[in-house]
């Protein structure tokens, strides 16, 4: 009977010319109903450059003349189901990107499911444990940085206040011919975080201190590829963290220890490594203060021991200093953590004088003071036999600092709104950087010390029109022998005109008037205009540009040095 039915239907359907279409229609309707019920978000970014030759600033015209980077993210959620992907394209890559980025293809994709207790992701995922000292995967597109993990992640919340994460995967290293290339090693990791007050909500209802505890364990596997040494193939990094909050006070810290990890970075030594951060803060309305300390030794932790620079990092070691926004301060002497070792301190203070007070004026005034220093740690070698087979080359302790300075930054600023139309910001920065360790320039020797002053004024012409200007001066101290250090003094002027909510135009010029080489006393002029409609932005700029954090027309991003035309389009949906 059943067989007959089947025969009948097969026959019937075969004779029915639209069978495929009907099938497709029904399936299509089903699928589309499913998709249209969920939530789509995402964005598009496309940047095109046409570059000129400009040997004075070391900008070269690429053979293709034009360069274009494009990205589109699409994320979908429906109930507990989620999926997402990113298509990226480098035809060829814009300047400043790693030279192995090329082609068009899928750079990121995942599927997953989550409910109140579990969250599972298969495919690519970004993750951070605690402060990131043991594990952090993230994308910083402006820098061309992406160390995303590809594998599986499970987040488990057995009860309120406790969260356990498990991850297993390989890291993205590169994007070649339209395909993601992973780094060699496998990364396995486990993290637990326990918010005590949330779990014991009733019992601790009146307890004044908020307590969060956490612990991480990360392990990487990479085959021993060395003929001479026996390398550890499994290398662990583990530690704990605590965060306490009492009224207006916060205190938090994390300590991570890394096992023996001979690598290209550390010249294949067999020392253990560590990273520790501690932070104390006090703040109330109108006043904020924080003090932070950091100790790092032999803490470059990569999923491929033979990589260097920014490649295949499993962990994240942030520099302990303020990220500045003014062009000269941000771009000329930036500092990044030395993963082989440093001891750093930072203090930050901000105070708002009350509106209507004698000093505060009608609209209030804000004062900000910030200072940070970084030193080389002491490496004790007494009692160490360098010729023995241990390959342990020194000993060091937490916060064991020497007098050798890597970095110092002392800065303050005053922000005051004088009346309804005029806003004034005055800032001063004193920046010292050790160019022998944290190399920022090929022209400098030893310690570069500089003073920078900035005046910014913003004038509101009417409800929609506004004009803003900046004047910046950088004065580099001379070397003990009387010679000018690095590129000498700089001056920058910026003027920006905005029409809310849709248009802006700005002109900036940086002038290296103090360069010891007269031929290199160059101007860096740049004109930018843009159009914004809701979440669509189109921006066109032409001129010379120094590398660094560049803010214009309301948005900040990192850009490399170039000379030419840049057209960028961004859209969110």
């Amino acid at each position: 009977m059943r067989l007959e039915m089947k025969k009948f239907y097969t026959k019937k359907l075969k004779n029915f010319p639209l069978n495929k279409t009907v099938f497709s229609l029904i399936a299509g309707l089903g699928i589309s109903t499913f998709w249209s019920q969920g939530n789509f978000t995402g964005n598009i970014e496309s940047t095109f450059q046409y570059l000129n030759n400009d040997p004075i600033i070391n900008a070269l015209q690429p053979p293709t003349k034009g360069l274009v980077n494009s990205y589109m993210n699409v994320f979908y959620t429906h109930g507990g189901f989620k999926a997402g992907m990113r298509v990226e394209s480098y035809l060829p890559r814009i300047q400043g990107y790693p030279n192995r980025f090329d082609g068009t293809g899928l750079g990121y994709r995942y599927v997953g499911y989550s409910n109140d207790k579990v969250d599972v992701t298969l495919g690519h995922f970004y993750e951070q444990f605690g402060n990131g000292l043991a594990l952090r995967t993230y994308e910083d597109r402006a820098l061309g940085y992406d160390n995303v993990l590809d594998g599986v992640r499970i987040i488990f919340k057995p009860f309120s206040g406790l969260q356990i994460k498990g991850v297993y995967g390989k890291q993205r290293l590169s994007f070649t011919e339209g395909r993601v290339v992973n780094s060699e090693g496998i990364v396995r990791a486990l993290d637990g975080e326990f918010h005590v007050n949330e779990t014991f909500k009733k019992r601790l209802a009146t307890f004044p201190v908020d307590v969060i505890l956490g612990a991480s364990f990360v392990s990487k596997y990479q085959k021993d590829d060395d003929d001479a040494l026996i390398l550890p193939e499994n290398v662990g990094a583990y530690g704990g963290r605590v965060k306490l909050q009492y009224k207006n006070f916060t205190l938090d810290g994390e300590y991570i220890q890394k096992e023996q990890d001979p690598s290209l970075d550390n010249a294949k030594i067999y020392n253990f490594g560590h990273a520790a951060v501690a932070n104390f803060g006090y703040s109330k309305k109108g006043l904020g203060f924080s003090f932070s300390a950091k100790s790092v030794d032999n803490m470059s932790y990569r999923s491929d021991r033979n990589k260097e620079l920014q490649d295949a990092f499993i962990n994240f070691l942030p520099a302990l200093n303020k990220t500045h926004t003014y062009n000269l301060v941000a771009t000329l002497y930036p500092y990044a953590t030395q993963p082989l070792g440093e001891v750093a301190y930072q203090a930050d203070f901000i105070y708002t004088l009350k509106k209507g007070s004698k000093l505060g004026g009608k609209y209030g005034t804000t004062l900000g003071i910030n200072a940070s220093t970084t030193y080389r740690p002491i490496q004790h070698t007494s009692g160490i036999n360098l010729s023995d087979s241990s390959r342990v080359t020194y000993e060091t302790r937490l916060f064991d600092k020497s007098d050798s300075l890597y970095w110092r930054d002392i800065n303050f600023s005053i922000t005051r709104k004088l009346n309804k139309k005029l806003l004034l910001i005055l800032s001063y920065f004193n920046i010292t950087i050790n160019n022998d360790v944290a190399k920022v320039s090929n022209d400098a020797t030893g310690i570069i010390s500089s003073h920078i002053g900035v005046v910014e004024a913003s004038y509101k012409i009417n409800a929609k029109h506004n004009v803003r200007m900046e004047l910046q001066g950088m004065f580099v101290n001379k070397l003990p022998n009387g010679n000018i250090n690095d590129k000498g003094n700089w001056a920058t002027a910026l003027i920006e005109y905005t029409v809310a909510p849709s248009y802006f135009i700005s002109f900036i010029n940086q002038y290296n008037y103090g360069n010891p080489d007269v031929d290199k006393r160059v101007n860096y002029p740049n004109i930018t205009c843009g159009y914004i409609h809701e979440s669509t932005r189109v921006m066109l700029s032409y001129g010379r540009q120094r590398a660094g954090l560049f803010c214009v027309g309301g948005v900040c991003r990192f850009v490399p040095a170039n000379n030419g035309l840049t057209l960028s389009f961004t859209q969110s949906f």
């Binding site: 998709w35 995402g42 970004y126 909050q245 901000i350 708002t352 900040c556 969110s572 949906f573």
Partner: protein, 170 residues
């Protein structure tokens, strides 16, 4: 293969049609669910922020001068905005570990009354499709995204307020 292609095409057509009818009735785009902590350690689910009126979500960072100007400008008007429309502002900081510790210092030092959330690894930023900051979203009382703006120029806060007022009239 051909059948698969037809299938994809047809489902796309249906999807686009579905979107159109949805767009006609009102924007049905919601905020995705991401778990974030505020500067006091309290946990928030971004899809259930727990406010009754309209909500402004503003992505910012301590290193972004225009973002800070936007939040400073709104700060001066915030009390009036709240009494007149019942709006709440959620300032989502995308500062990573390098500058995350400065967020509480800055937000309190400025005397802000906003809910300040921390998104140090960009999970919420990514899921909201944010390319760069400042990026501001306005949500109606049902959590639908009704207005967005990816910039700040002085005067933008007034245009945002007009949009908020439209919601409180409805």
């Amino acid at each position: 293969m051909k059948r698969l292609l037809t299938l994809v095409l047809i489902s796309c057509t249906f999807y686009v049609m579905g979107q159109h009818s949805a767009a006609d009735s009102a924007s049905n785009k919601k905020v995705p669910s991401v778990l974030l902590n505020d500067i006091n350690g309290k946990s928030f689910n971004t899809s259930e922020l727990g406010f009754t009126g309209p909500v402004v979500i503003s992505f910012w960072a301590t290193w972004c001068a225009p973002c800070k100007k936007e939040l400073m400008a709104i700060h001066e008007l915030y009390e009036d905005w709240q009494t007149e429309t019942g709006v709440n502002l959620v300032a989502v900081s995308i500062d990573d570990e390098k500058t995350k510790r400065d967020v509480i210092t800055y937000a309190n030092g400025k005397g802000w009354d906003y809910t300040v959330l921390l998104d140090p690894n960009g999970d919420f930023k990514r899921s909201m499709g944010v390319n760069n900051v400042p990026h501001t979203f306005l949500l109606d009382k049902n959590g639908n995204i009704v207005y967005t703006h990816n910039n700040y120029a002085p005067g933008d806060e007034e245009i945002l307020y007009q949009e908020i007022k439209k919601l409180s009239v409805e």
